[in-house]
C-alpha cells in the first residue's frame, strides 16, 4: 500500500524532476524530449533549476521556522486563559494581513549596515529572504493553528490526562487531534511565502549571476522580471512551474495528514 503510493508519487514527480535537473531518465526520455522542440525553452536549464532551488529553499526554511515557532505559541495561547488573550489573538489575526512590501522594508532596515542585524551582513542574501518570509508566514500559521487547537474538545485533553498523560502528552494529543487544521495552517503559510514578491524583491534584490545561476532570484521575482522585459514565454513557463510546485507541496502535506490517521 505504502510502496504503491510512493511509486505513484515518483512517476508523477519524475518528468518535473528531470526538467529541473536537466538529466532525463531513460524510462521517460522519449516523451520528455519530444516536448522540447514544441516549447523550445528560451532559457538555460541551469537558470530555471537554480531559481526553483532558491524558491524552495527560502520558502521551506521560512515555513519550517514559522511552524516551529507557531505551534508552541498556539498551544500556549490555546491552553491558557490570561488577561489580554483576546487582544493577542486579534494581533495575530491582524498579522495575516501584513503587506509584504512593508515587511520587506522593515527587514531591509533591520539587516542594513546600520540596522540591529547589520553585523550579520545579510543584505541581499537568501537568509534575509528567509527572515522576511518567516515574518510573513508566522501570523497565518499561528492564527489557523490556534483556531484548530481551540476547536479540539476539552474532553479529549481531560481523557489524555486521566489516562496518565503528562503535559507534553496532552499537548501531543491536542496537536494530533488538530492535525488537519494544522496542515491547512502550514499550507497557508507556505502559499503566502512562495507566492510572495514584494519583500523578497526588496531584501533579496532578485540577483542572478552572469553564469545564469540564481543567487536570490525566486520564481516570483523572476516572473516579474521576465514579464517586464517582454519575455512572456519564459514568464509563463516559470508561472506554470510555480503552480505545479505549490500543488506538489499541497499534495505531500495532505498525504502526511492522511497518514497520521491510523
Amino acid at each position: 500500500m505504502e510502496c504503491e503510493r510512493f511509486r505513484k508519487l515518483t512517476v508523477f514527480l519524475e518528468p518535473i524532476a528531470s526538467l529541473v535537473s536537466g538529466g532525463l531518465s531513460p524510462a521517460i526520455a522519449p516523451p520528455a524530449r519530444s516536448l522540447v522542440p514544441l516549447v523550445s525553452f528560451p532559457f538555460e536549464t541551469v537558470y530555471v533549476r537554480s531559481i526553483v532551488a532558491v524558491s524552495l529553499y527560502v520558502s521551506l526554511c521560512a515555513v519550517l521556522a514559522s511552524t516551529l515557532v507557531s505551534l508552541p505559541v498556539a498551544l500556549l495561547v490555546g491552553f491558557n486563559d490570561f488577561p489580554g488573550k483576546g487582544l493577542l489573538t486579534a494581533a495575530i489575526n491582524t498579522g495575516m494581513g501584513f503587506p509584504s512590501v512593508v515587511v520587506g522594508l522593515v527587514v531591509l532596515f533591520a539587516v542594513s549596515s546600520q540596522g540591529p542585524l547589520g553585523e550579520l551582513e545579510l543584505m541581499f542574501t537568501r537568509e534575509a529572504m528567509i527572515l522576511s518570509q518567516f515574518v510573513l508566514a508566522t501570523p497565518p500559521i499561528t492564527a489557523i493553528s490556534l483556531a484548530a487547537i481551540d476547536g479540539v474538545d476539552g474532553g479529549v485533553r481531560d481523557a489524555a490526562r486521566a489516562l496518565g498523560g503528562t503535559r507534553l502528552d496532552v499537548a501531543l494529543v491536542t496537536l494530533r487531534e488538530a492535525r488537519y487544521g494544522i496542515a491547512t495552517a502550514v499550507l497557508a503559510g507556505f502559499g503566502r511565502a512562495i507566492s510572495e514578491v514584494g519583500s523578497v524583491l526588496i531584501v533579496g534584490g532578485n540577483i542572478a549571476g552572469v553564469d545564469g545561476v540564481s543567487k536570490t532570484r525566486t520564481l516570483t521575482t523572476a516572473i516579474q522580471l521576465e514579464a517586464r522585459q517582454g519575455r512572456y514565454e519564459t514568464a509563463m513557463v516559470l508561472g506554470i512551474l510555480l503552480v505545479v510546485l505549490v500543488l506538489l507541496v499541497n499534495g505531500i502535506v495532505v498525504r502526511i495528514g492522511d497518514g497520521g490517521v491510523r
Binding site: 481531560d158 481523557a159 489524555a160 486521566a162 489516562l163 496518565g164 498523560g165 494530533r176 491510523r262
Partner: protein, 255 residues
C-alpha cells in the same frame, strides 16, 4: 490499596462545592456515590483522580498525601488511577490505539519513538493487554476500526476498556452510563463487576439509584452539604438512618 479523600473542601469562587468530606475505597470494593445533579459528585471524582487540588484536606493513596509530593511522584500515583467520563472522549484514531494510549504514555520515550517510526511503515498488532481490555467490554474484534465509526454505547465501552488496559488500582466512573441504552448500560455494569473481581477498587458516581443497587457494595449519599449517609448498599437503601436520605431515596426530596 486504599484511595481516600480526608476532610476535603473545594469551592469555586465564593461558592463552596464540598466541605469537610471524607470518603475512601479499597481494593475490590465498589462504592456508588449517589445524589442529585450539581451536588459535587464530579468534583469529588476529580479530587480522587488527582486532577484537582483540594482547598483543604488531603487525598491519599495508600496513606501517601498526593499533594505533598512533587509533580513526578504525584504522576506515579496518578498513573495507578483510571477515570471514565460521561462522554467517551475518544481520540481520532483506531479503537486499538485508543485503548493502548494509557500503556503508551507509560513507556520510555525511546521506545515510543521507535514504535511511532514503525507505525509509519506498517500497522502494528495490538498488545495482549489491549485485546483483553477490549474483550471485557465485548469489542475484542473491533480494534482496527476508527473510533469515529462507533455508536455512542460502543464508544463508551471503548472508553472503559481504555481505562482498564493499563490495569489501574482504582477506577473512577463519572456517570458512565447516563447517555446509554439499557443493553450498553448492562455491558458496562458487567465490566464494572469484572473489574471488581480483578481486585480493582471502583468509585461510581451516578444519579441512577437502581444502578447503584445493582453494582455497588457500598453507597454514599451526597446531598447539599456533604455525605448524608454511607454504608452497605442494601442497608442504605432499605433502612437509611438519615431522614433526608430516606426522603431522597423514596423520591420525596426533590432538588
Amino acid at each position: 490499596m486504599v484511595l481516600r479523600a480526608r476532610d476535603v473542601a473545594v469551592s469555586y469562587g465564593d461558592e463552596p462545592v464540598l466541605e469537610g468530606l471524607s470518603v475512601g475505597v479499597e481494593a475490590g470494593d465498589v462504592l456508588a456515590v449517589i445524589g442529585p445533579s450539581g451536588v459535587g459528585k464530579s468534583t469529588l471524582l476529580r479530587l480522587l483522580a488527582l486532577a484537582e487540588t483540594p482547598d483543604d484536606g488531603t487525598v491519599e493513596l495508600d496513606g501517601t498525601d498526593a499533594w505533598a509530593l512533587d509533580n513526578g511522584d504525584r504522576l506515579r500515583l496518578r498513573r495507578r488511577i483510571g477515570m471514565v467520563f460521561q462522554e467517551a472522549n475518544l481520540f481520532d484514531a483506531s479503537v486499538a490505539r485508543n485503548v493502548e494510549y494509557g500503556l503508551r504514555v507509560r513507556r520510555l520515550w525511546s521506545d515510543r519513538l521507535r514504535d511511532w517510526a514503525a507505525s509509519i511503515v506498517g500497522p502494528s498488532t495490538p498488545t495482549d493487554a489491549v485485546t483483553e481490555a477490549l474483550s471485557v467490554v465485548g469489542l475484542a474484534d473491533r480494534g482496527d476500526q476508527p473510533a469515529g465509526s462507533l455508536s455512542g454505547g460502543e464508544a463508551q465501552r471503548v472508553s472503559f476498556a481504555r481505562a482498564l488496559a493499563y490495569d489501574p488500582d482504582v477506577l473512577l466512573l463519572d456517570e458512565p452510563t447516563s447517555d446509554l441504552d439499557p443493553r450498553n448500560t448492562a455491558l458496562i455494569e458487567e465490566a464494572v463487576s469484572a473489574a471488581r473481581d480483578r481486585g480493582i477498587g471502583v468509585v461510581l458516581a451516578t444519579h441512577d439509584m437502581h444502578q447503584a443497587e445493582r453494582v455497588a457494595d457500598r453507597a454514599a449519599v451526597l446531598l447539599g452539604d456533604g455525605i448524608a449517609e454511607i454504608g452497605p448498599t442494601d442497608r442504605v437503601f432499605e433502612d437509611p438512618n438519615d431522614d433526608r436520605t430516606r426522603q431522597f431515596i423514596s423520591g420525596e426530596l426533590v432538588y
